[in-house]
């Protein structure tokens, strides 16, 4: 588990009180991961950085709404980011596939975590990737389409040309497998 949640919860409280230094600290802690998620969803670096600004300004203005009983600060910010990015995706003319954009963008390699953050990132990714590796390719595909592209059951079924019931089943089984792998 993250050893810093209590410190980060305190940062959130200070942000809610209007302390700019606390915002700067939480930005430095989590903006690389948030930007990575935004880029994974949006596929465009400049657009991802734009949404990144919006996300942290939302953190600045809505830190008072953060509930530590429901999510860690990092989880709250990541879900804010995902929600904003998916909103942007839905408004966008999405004729292009984002995975094509991601695959073709050299900026994906621009990863600069250092020191303990780098070790944590490596460990975390390894754990999640192991969990994902435990899924069937179909289960993983369905979950990724929902999580990174904001597609619903029906939209995934249409995208994959698969029966709706099959898609529901893949997601339910995949999510349960994921939980087991992450909690082990």
């Amino acid at each position: 588990m993250d050893p810093r949640p209590s410190h980060e919860i305190d940062l959130m409280r200070r942000i809610g009180a209007g302390e700019g230094e606390a915002l700067a600290e939480i930005f430095d802690l989590h903006s690389p991961l948030v930007l990575g998620l935004l880029f994974r969803i949006l596929g465009r670096r400049s657009e991802a950085e734009e949404i990144l600004q919006e996300v942290f300004l939302q953190v600045w203005t809505q830190a008072g709404r953060y509930d530590p009983d429901r999510a860690s600060p990092r989880g709250w910010i990541l879900m804010l980011a995902r929600s904003r990015a998916l909103d942007r995706i839905r408004r966008r003319d999405s004729s292009r596939r984002r995975e094509e954009e991601v695959a073709g963008d050299p900026l994906l390699a621009a990863v600069h975590p250092v020191g303990t953050a780098r070790l944590e990132a490596v460990e975390r990714k390894s754990r999640v990737h192991s969990a994902l590796d435990g899924l069937t390719p179909e289960q993983r595909r369905c979950i990724e389409l929902a999580f990174f592209e904001g597609l619903t059951h029906s939209q995934i079924a249409e995208r994959l040309q698969a029966p709706l019931g099959t898609v529901k089943s893949r997601i339910l089984l995949g999510m349960n497998k994921l939980r087991q792998a992450l909690s082990s």
Partner: protein, 270 residues
Amino acid sequence: MAAHEHTARFDELLPAYALGALDGDELRELEAHIATGCAECQRQIALWQGDLEELATAVEPIAPSAATRERVLRAAEAGATVVPFERPRRTGAPRWLALAATLLLAVALWGIYQQARLSGEAGRLRAERDGLARQVAGLERRLDQTQADNRRLAKTLSLITAPGAHAIQLAGLGPAQGAVGHAFINPKTGEAVIYAFDLPAPAAGTTYELWWIAAGRPPVPAGTFGVDEHGAARVEVDRVADAAEPKTWAVTIEPAGGRPQPSGPIILKG
């Protein structure tokens, strides 16, 4: 099944709900249930969101640019909204509508500008047309005058150069001392033209009247006339009886409109 009762069916819907994949009747059904304040659903949603947070951390981190960090902190300090990035956003409906509104405004303004410009152009062309019309009218008047002058000169020239034509010189008398005149007569046709120079302008209510006088006969009126600003006058006579016979030419001062017989003093004679 009461909506507030938590069942295994909701347990199956909650993973997809947390993922955002639930839709249709299942979504409405679960939302109605959650709205009852089901604590078990809240607990499970928090757990699933924790798992999804883990999924989110599987992405490659990317260090944001220093400019982005600066913009966020500066905007937060200023209490302002997000500083736009360099690339315009073109996908959102509000942006699209704003662009459309801007285009419509631009088209409207262009239309107004064009209308004003064309209106101004039309006004300028109308003024130019009116000016040209005035110039044409002036030129036509000058042309008419020139043509009339030419006709007079041609007539005078034909008179003077006609075979047997003769000229008589007239001299000023009394108040017109110093005035001179010339009478040219075509004996064949009886046409005559008389020029007078340096005559004073006739007094108000009076006019000059030309007479020709054959020997032993009463004077014959040949027309009334005034003078120009230089004291000059030209009088044409269509036909003089017995033009080949010698005549005396005289100009008298008469009441306006002239008289059948001279009543005023003679001022020019020859």
